[in-house]
Subunit: 459 residues, 2 copies
């Protein structure tokens, strides 16, 4: 295993479940200090919702070793020699190199954060939030800085979650985002709802703005040390910052794979078959943030770095490496997030995704509520639905609301997987009781409206 | 339209949407005083969560009339003359009878509560909760009685919801239930979890006990008047009660239909085709609590009186009556409920349902959490899953937990509708973020375990 996080160690654990140590020797190389941690939990550790780092570690190195997995931390794989079936490793601390041969190789090298090659992005006080070390460094800066102004660069999942975290810690938060609206995984009309809600929370939202540089300060005015971050600059303006968090996405970490001549897709991720086997390589598997996945709705390859996929990949790989048979057919693009009490869910295609693959579609947007309108706590919920024009096939759903909004996309995620039409969706037997839903679930309300639109006019 | 509640008035509204008053005359007969009210909301009105009765009325008579629906309240249909295409009506107040002819008839007569033919069930202080009048009468009793002891007879949805309502109003609540456990729509092992949770809330749970009579008092000891309820008696014990609420289910109200020779099923409900047209009658439709529905999982007819189905039936009937084309294919048996912070969801077949139709199946029960384990508020959730033995087809899911438990059955409801296997479910792309789910959603955890069991042993 190259990489001992979600995909790698899920694979190792599952393979071990199927094959004992006498049958299968498992060696896992990890250049960092941690295993199996929840990167998705970092914003909640920073916010203080999660009290300590180790709560984010699902399985410690000791736990893995107790299950006869030969885990080698701080050991970087520097080369894959696929022809000879071996990898070269380097001890990060001593620099010692050596070769280890394999019968089966699992690549789970994850993703690396995008860091623009522009001035100041490496200044003290500028932080990524991909690893536990990143989280610790950020918390350290937050403890030390005197000011209370934070700028978050990027308004995707990490960006909006970090905005919440910093708000909770009492910072004045500005989110600078190059998209027209936050959450570019939503259509702009739905992103607009997120923009408005975040502004209402007291977050300053700057859209359509590219950060051109990070401005730094000299001298001992900041406890962060020489060259400390002072502001974030766009073409038009400067935003003072005592601390900066980067949430501008990640790219598949496939440097090793590329050097070894393994097949990569248009997004730079490894290409695998449904068994998560690297295409053309009988004994190499890959999973997690370093691979591309098939989008079952569009039929296109995509890069979707999410822990939930990584865990499933690991499970599938571990089963196959262990001699079983499992497949990962693909994704429908489901993702959920929240900013304070605002919930965001999406699955399937946005308008621009549907256009890109040449689909003709209708869109509807409906307003409904999370509970029966008369039940206390019923909160507004906006559901957008896309359906293919001629067939009525569901193409995508986006939901923005409060309690109960995000996970409602699961209904649509299953419907997309099953290829249901919006007509079929209108009669879905979903759970109804006043504390949980209006008598027509918001997703059904959207489906009903979509049916009418797909048919051109009411019959 | 016979009956002006969910099914009838949904049908009327939808038909009116499609056909103007010049094209279609719509007459609706309703023997009661209200239209389109949420019976499911009554427990929350009784509890005080919903402040006033009229909040439960989705559409008033005036609103219906404003849409050119000729609504006749307090007018009971006493006979359907299908051969002549006419109905006989009686003005409830004056007793005047008359005939009205129709081109198309919609039967939406609902259900009537089961009232055991045993002593005392009609005593002052014994209340059903099917109609707004029932709710008002109960609230009136609650205002007047001096004691604080309430007995709920029955532990289905209405029973457990009324237990919560009475608890919230400060009563000592005893639930007397003839099933082995509360919530007989769950398997007994899952019902047991509800039993325990309700006891922890301070509710006295008496299972496996048939109420043989309601004991009444004489004289003016109760403000409820002569013959006031004093206790509920089973074979073994007496439970003192200042007020009694009946939640022992309903039967289809098909007296008229039976007399008219319309086809009824084994559960006493009207039988329709997918267009909700009464079988063998081109111009008669029926929907809501008075019909039987097809269970898509078992292939059997069932009677499932739920507002959500009634609304869908009405929508389908209204479309068809209006000259369009819509179908209601059936249900998968989804239902959700809550008792204080305990949430209950179920869909598909229980063990005994699966056995009854001769299916061979495996069951799994898993414990998981509502959120990532490290995220504040993560609460335990028990998921039971049934899968067909050879094929792995999903047969049913039951969930008992706290926040986020009930509506999670929607995932399974869609999967059941689409006929997914548990293998297919393990790779469903469900929404994941720490505040909403562990990285493996509880439903997926159950599916994984079910796959292993269906396969006999891990590969």
């Amino acid at each position: 295993m190259i990489g001992a996080d979600a995909a790698g160690m899920s694979a190792a654990s599952q393979a071990r479940r199927l094959r004992g140590p006498d049958e299968l020797e498992i060696v896992a190389f990890e250049r960092g200090r941690f295993t199996s941690f929840s990167a998705c939990g970092i914003p909640y550790w920073v916010s203080g919702d999660v009290e300590e780092r180790d709560r984010l570690i699902a399985r410690t190195p000791e736990e893995h070793r107790a299950r006869d997995i030969d885990l080698r931390l701080r050991t970087e794989v520097t080369e894959i020699d696929a022809a000879a079936g071996r990898v070269r490793t380097r001890d990060v601390d001593s620099g010692t190199e050596s070769w280890t041969s394999y019968d089966k190789l699992v690549i789970a090298t994850g993703a690396r954060p995008v860091r623009p090659d522009r001035p100041g992005f490496d200044a003290p006080g500028v932080h990524g939030v991909q690893t536990l070390d990143d989280g610790e460094a950020l918390l350290d800066s937050l403890t030390r800085v005197r000011g209370r102004r934070a700028v978050v660069v990027g308004a995707g999942y990490i960006g909006v979650e970090m905005a919440e975290a910093l708000l909770k810690r009492g910072y004045e938060v500005t989110v600078v985002n190059r998209g027209k609206e936050p959450m570019s995984t939503l259509d702009p009309d739905m992103g607009r709802l997120v923009h408005r809600a975040m502004e209402e929370m007291g977050i300053t939202m700057v859209d359509d703005a590219e950060v051109t540089k990070v401005l730094t300060g000299e001298g001992d005015a900041s406890p962060l040390g020489e060259g400390w971050v002072r502001a974030v600059a766009t073409e038009d303006a400067e935003y003072p910052a005592d601390v900066v968090v980067l949430g501008i996405g990640v790219r598949p970490e496939t440097t090793l794979a590329r050097a070894a001549g393994l097949p990569l897709g248009a997004h730079g991720g490894l290409l695998t078959d449904r068994a998560m086997r690297v295409r053309g390589h009988e004994n190499i598997w890959a999973g997690g943030d370093c691979v591309e996945v098939l989008d079952l709705v569009s039929g296109q390859q995509r890069h979707i770095p999410l822990g939930t996929h990584a865990n499933k990949h690991g499970q599938v790989i571990g089963t196959n490496v262990g001699g079983g048979c499992a497949t990962f057919p693909g994704v429908v693009g489901t993702a959920v997030s929240k900013v304070c009490d605002l919930e965001i869910g999406r699955t399937g295609l946005r308008e621009k995704d549907a256009r890109r693959v040449g689909l003709r579609f209708e869109t509807v947007v409906v307003e409904s509520t999370s509970r029966a309108g008369y039940y206390p706590g019923a909160s507004p919920m906006t559901v957008k639905m896309l359906a293919e024009r001629r067939t009525g096939r569901l193409l995508g759903v986006q939901i923005v609301g409060r309690e109960g909004a995000a996970k409602r996309v699961d209904i649509a995620a299953v419907a997309l997987t099953a290829g249901l039409t919006v007509d079929q969706m209108t009669v879905l037997d979903l759970g109804y009781a006043p504390p949980f839903s209006p008598v027509w679930d918001p997703v059904l309300v959207a489906a009903r409206k979509a049916v009418t639109k797909v048919r051109g006019s009411a019959p």
